[in-house]
Each structure stands twice: as structure tokens, then as C-alpha cells.
Symmetry: C2
Subunit: 437 residues, 2 copies
Amino acid sequence: MVRLDYLNLTYKEIGEVGLDIKDIEIFAKKAYEMMLKKPYKELDFLNLHNQDLLKIKQLSSKAKDYDYFIILGIGGSALGPKVILEALSPFHNLRRKPKVFVYDNVDPVTFKNIIEIVDLKRTLINVISKSGTTVETLASFLILWKMIRDKKLNVRQHFVFTTDPEKGSLRVLANEYGIPTLEIPKNIVGRYSVLSPVGVFLAEIIGTESESLLEGAKDISEKALNDDLSENSMAIFASCTYLMDTMKGRRILVFLPYSDRLKSLSEWFCQLWAESLGKEGKGPTPYPSLGTTDQHSQLQLWMEGPEDKVILFVCIENHNSQEEIPQEFHNIEGLKYLGGHTLSELINIEQLATEMALTMSKKPNFKLVIPRLNAYYLGQLFQFLQISTAMTGFLYNVNPFNQPGVELGKRLTYGAMGRRGFEEEAEKIKKYLRRKI
Amino acid sequence: MVRLDYLNLTYKEIGEVGLDIKDIEIFAKKAYEMMLKKPYKELDFLNLHNQDLLKIKQLSSKAKDYDYFIILGIGGSALGPKVILEALSPFHNLRRKPKVFVYDNVDPVTFKNIIEIVDLKRTLINVISKSGTTVETLASFLILWKMIRDKKLNVRQHFVFTTDPEKGSLRVLANEYGIPTLEIPKNIVGRYSVLSPVGVFLAEIIGTESESLLEGAKDISEKALNDDLSENSMAIFASCTYLMDTMKGRRILVFLPYSDRLKSLSEWFCQLWAESLGKEGKGPTPYPSLGTTDQHSQLQLWMEGPEDKVILFVCIENHNSQEEIPQEFHNIEGLKYLGGHTLSELINIEQLATEMALTMSKKPNFKLVIPRLNAYYLGQLFQFLQISTAMTGFLYNVNPFNQPGVELGKRLTYGAMGRRGFEEEAEKIKKYLRRKI
């Protein structure tokens, strides 16, 4: 089971900059009690382990016949699948088929490159948008739709839409053209959707048993409703991060996994945390990091910069690899001591050394530990972080499921693109472009 | 020429949260004057355009015969080459040879995967470490050294060392075994080394004319010593970021390029900035971001979270791609307005819309603009950001070229690895591991 160790956030270990364990428990209890009330329908993500996998399995088994698989999606519709791909099938495109591309931008050069690499005849395109209105996703969809039709290919055999069960442009088109679809359940919002067909479809395509992913999530979900705080470490997580910000002024939460395969998890977590909590003037900034790499990048700032950060380590106990460093060059002291250790030992030793260096310097840090990285424990990590984020939102007294702050930018984009009904925004843009310093 | 637009940081545009133009000019002048004194020998990176490229060109022309090219390095020895690869040859490994792997961690799974993919007989390994003592780099080097020898291959044909001209383990080995080497000039430190052989060798291998890269850097370097502030926008950059932190409490600097090809540049910049400025309790936190992607991730937090950020856009005027969104589905309003625009237009419109949304909400933001993304302008960006970072360090009155804060973690690693002379650290670790909550 994923394990939380928060000793290095406490007064006992780091003195005045640390938290009182009693305070941690008071707010953890509070977070737990709010969770018990299920205050938002969007908490349905807790039940995704009950979903019917039949259609996903049917479609994914067909997908395995293709050489290329393109996901069009952005934000929650892209980051979850990316984590699954990189965590469970690293270097996928150099080793396996179908090659997978997650196109989560409107970058014309990336688009052109992907098109040059794939053969559309052997390509399945998964368009993911809950609302079916996402500008970025629809733009690339329209281009690919036309390309498929221009090649006289059957759109039913080259597209799968993952979208709302009823609403949006993609649903309308699916009905009109008979495109196969997967449903994102009504109450599931983008950044809490990785365990819905958004992520599970890709998991199946790359050969992961998605039952394991969901089983991991289920085992965590059950604990979220446990009133024994020693079992409910999501409540502890929420309490610690909330108090570190509001009581101790630590406004940056560094997410630091020690595994290349979890680099994308950093980005996924940062979206989850930032969009869920960043509102009403509140919200600590989540920082995407990676060990050991960032020991040579950010560590200097964490050790000697402003006292505004909390470091969250994510550790894998067993890397399942025994690559040994040989004993060579006995005459060179700077090489000799490395011999006989494995890379697995070294990466975990470096994590420990960094954790100790921070603790000895009174820098708050805590860690999540999983025994191995596989589908089951990845499912646990996803669910642990999703529940913890929602609970932290309850403590901040914000709605962790909306994102009102992105609307203005969207409206201005519509205005600039000449969409009907956004003429006022178009005017504002014209005026803006005439400004001078 | 790279252009800085800082209007949206000023009082005129965003009111009280903005800066007075006079203050900007006073501190820019100060930054410029300190640069003029050349207070550190490490400023030699300003002269890297004068380096002799002959040996790099000889070695890289040989390297083109290999199918695989592995860089072993971490921090400044890896991030610069990564930027060059992704900016100038995106999707490189699916399209070109030699396939390039930058191994910048001690992750055993990544190592194993790379070894499975490459054929060592056809692999050139570039070991990059200025000091020649970097634990992570030497660990993987030792494994690969043994592998090459076990296969009875000639180490001289499979290794190139990029290291200090005189010191360190790599230099000793190079002399003993006759390994070809490239020199990182004496006064060049890791995070300011991208324009040295560290980055230039890879640039040549992937077919970039490194003269263009260096020409771009040269054209910027000349401006750093210009006393006309309208020409010396590095001084303006330093002044703005310094004042936004110290006068306005904006402690996070978000680096936001609108191009997938510049995603690695975000990471490179964050290392440069964090290690250069994060000391003596000072240093704004640099945040690695990417547009349009992060509009669906971080924008909510920027718009409605705490008032502690400044956003730096990095824009490409011309993406050199005319992929047009077709006019389809005239009956669906949510699709119709997209038709007839290009992806290049859309990505730039979204950048503008986000910039406007931030400005209208009084969130400080500024931007760097380049006309096109090629080697010449990438060279400009590198040098612009390196000079700006050093100048910002002058204003903070810190040494932007050292990193004393990472020593403790290194010593503890040595202790845990059983290196001679670090017995005290080993004891501390044993004691630490016995702790209980």
C-alpha cells in the first residue's frame, strides 16, 4: 500500500518551521469529516473501479491492429494518458506498436511532424474532450477528419471519440457518422478522469490490465472513508499541505518523484492541484520536479533560497533492476567507491541523502512510498493524489472541481477567431493591439 | 533580434501591482554598470563564439557514422544538449540517425531500456562532466565502460569525454587510454556551458551549423555592454524580475514558451535561474511551463490564485507551417468558427488571448519574441537568458556562478556509498534511519 511519511514536517524533527502533530490531526479529522459528507457530485471519481470495461476492451483489442495511435486532447484529457504511457511502457515508441502520440497543443510543427511519421491508413485517432467544445482538440480533429476523408478512408475505422454521454459537438458527430465512442461519466471532470475511459483505453492498448489500475484505486478509495487517521493518510496529506501554507507561509509544493517513469506524473499532479485549489486568492503552487536530475537544478534553491517551499518525495522501494556498477580503476579514489553498488541502490541513496540534507537544514519535506511501480500501484498513486487534492480543497473551502479563471482567455480566443457572439471581445483585442509603451 | 516587451509589467497597464518605468530604468542601469566591470571570471561564457570548432567538427563528422549517440551527463551537462535536440530536431529518434539518448539520471530502468534499444557496436558515448567527479555520470559511465570492454570493442572508438582541460577523473582516464576529448574552457560553469562543446558537439551531430548558434549568441553578447538601455534589454529583464520580487513580492517567475520545441528550454532556464540566484535566502522560483498546454493546467492558478507570480511568455512570430483548419460542419457553431484559420494563427491567438486575460486581470506579464525558431535565434535565446540571469544575480548581490547548497547532499551520498573520508556522514545516516515518529 502507498505509504505517507510526514515525520520531517513536524516540530519534533525540524523545530519551529515544523507543524504540531496535534494540529495535523485536528485538520486531518476535519478533512475526513468533510469527505464523509460527499459534498460534490464530482466525487464520483471514487467509484470508477465499478465501471464496465467491456466496450473499452472490445475497442482496444481492435486498436492493437493499428500501427499508430494518436490521442487528441489537452489538460486532463492528455496528462493522465501520458502518465500511463510513460510509467508503464517507457520508451514505448522505440519498442512497441502501436506507436502512441499524445497531441496536446496546437503547435503546427508538432502536428506536421506527427503526420510525417504516421501512415494514416494504419492510424487510430482517439479524440478526447468531455465537453466536446475544446478549441485545441477540435482544431486538430478537423484537420485530421478532412485528411482521413480525402484519403477515402472510412471515418468509423479511424476515429474513437471519448466524450460526454449526451452533450457536445463530438457526440453530435458520433451520432451522425456512427463513430465508436467511449463515455466519460456525467460527474467526472477532466483532471479527475484518468481512471475513466480517458486513461483506461490507452492502458489497454499498451497491454496493461486496467483491472489492476482500478484495483489499486479501489483499495485507496476505501481508505478515504476510514475514520482511523493512521489508515487515512489522504486526510493527513491534506492537513499537512494546508497547514504548511496557511500557518507557515510555505506557498510552493514541490512534487519530486525519484523515477524517470514518473516525470509525467509530476505534470499530471501539477494540473490537478493548480486547477483544483488555485482560486479565491488561495492555492499553493505545485512544482513539477524529478530526482535525481533536479538535485543538479533546483536543490540549490530549495536549500538556500527563500523559506517558501515544502518538498514531497515520491519513492519506489524496488526498481526491479540489478544493474551493478563494476569495480574498475582502483587507483582513482573518485571512481573506486562506486564499485559494487547497483544503480537501484544509488538512486535510493541519493533520495535519502537529499531528504536528510533538507531535514538537517530544517526544510520541511515528506514522502510517498510505493513498493514497486506497476499498474496496481500507479492506480493507488492516482487515487491517493486525487483524493488528497479534493480534501485539501475542502480545507481551503474552495470548490476543487471548477475552473472559472480560464473563461476570459477562452472568450478572447473566440473573439480573435471571429466566432459569432464574441464581437465585443474581438473589439477589445483590436484596441489592445494598438497599445504603445 | 530577440525582442523584450515589458509593457504589461508597468504601472501604466496594470496599476498598483505594476512597476514605475523610472525604477525599471534605474536598476537596469545598475545591472548594466555591474556587467561592465566583468566582476566574475565565469563571464567568459560571453566569448564562446570565439571558440575553435575544428576538433568538434572532426569528431562529430565521425559520430555521424554511428547509429546511436548516448550523452551521459546531468544538470548543465544534459539540459543544454536536450534543448538543442528538441528545438532543432523534434521527434529526432523517430526520424533520424544517430538516435540520441540523454541519460541524465541514475534510474536503473531507463538505463536498462536504453541498453536494450541500442547496439553498443554502433554506439558513441559522450561523457560530459566539467569536474569529472559527478556521481551520477560516473556511475553509468563505469557500467558502459565495462560493457564496451566485455564486448572486446575499442574504448577509443566508443567514448568521447567532454571535460575540464586539466583536472578530474575523466581527464586522467583520457590520458591513460587515449580517449578523444573536448574541452570545457576553464572558466565556464555547467549551467552556462550550452554554447561550449557541451551543446555544440551535439548540435553538429544532428546536422545543425553551430556557427549559426554561436552567431546568435555573439549578436546578443555585444548588446550586453551597450549603455543604451533600449538596446540592452537584458538589463531591463534583470531589473524587472528583481523589482517584481523585491518590491512587489512576486516570488515565482513562470517561463511560458508557446512551442512544443521549447519545452526543454523551460527546464534549462529553470536550472540556470534556480542555481544562479537561489542563495542567501533570496531567489524567485522559476516555474517551467508550456503554452497552450498549460492554459488547461496552470492558468486557473495564475488568474485566481495568490498574487505571487510573474508570467514570462516566449513567442515565435512565424512557425513556418501553414496547416489550415478546414471548413467542415457548417451547421455546428462550435466547429464552424475554426475553419479557415491555420494552427500557426491559433497558437499565436491563444498566446495573445492569455496575455490579454492576465493583463485585464492585473497580473504582471512580459514577453520575449523571436521571429523564427532556428539555430541562430536559439543561440540568441540562450545568451539572452544567460546574461539576464547573471545580471539579475548582480542586482541581488549574490554570486550567480556557484552552488554551495548542494554540497551537504553530495557528502551524505558519499557517506552512504562508503567513500573513504566520509565516515562521519555514514554514521549520521545510520542514526537517521533509526528514527521513529
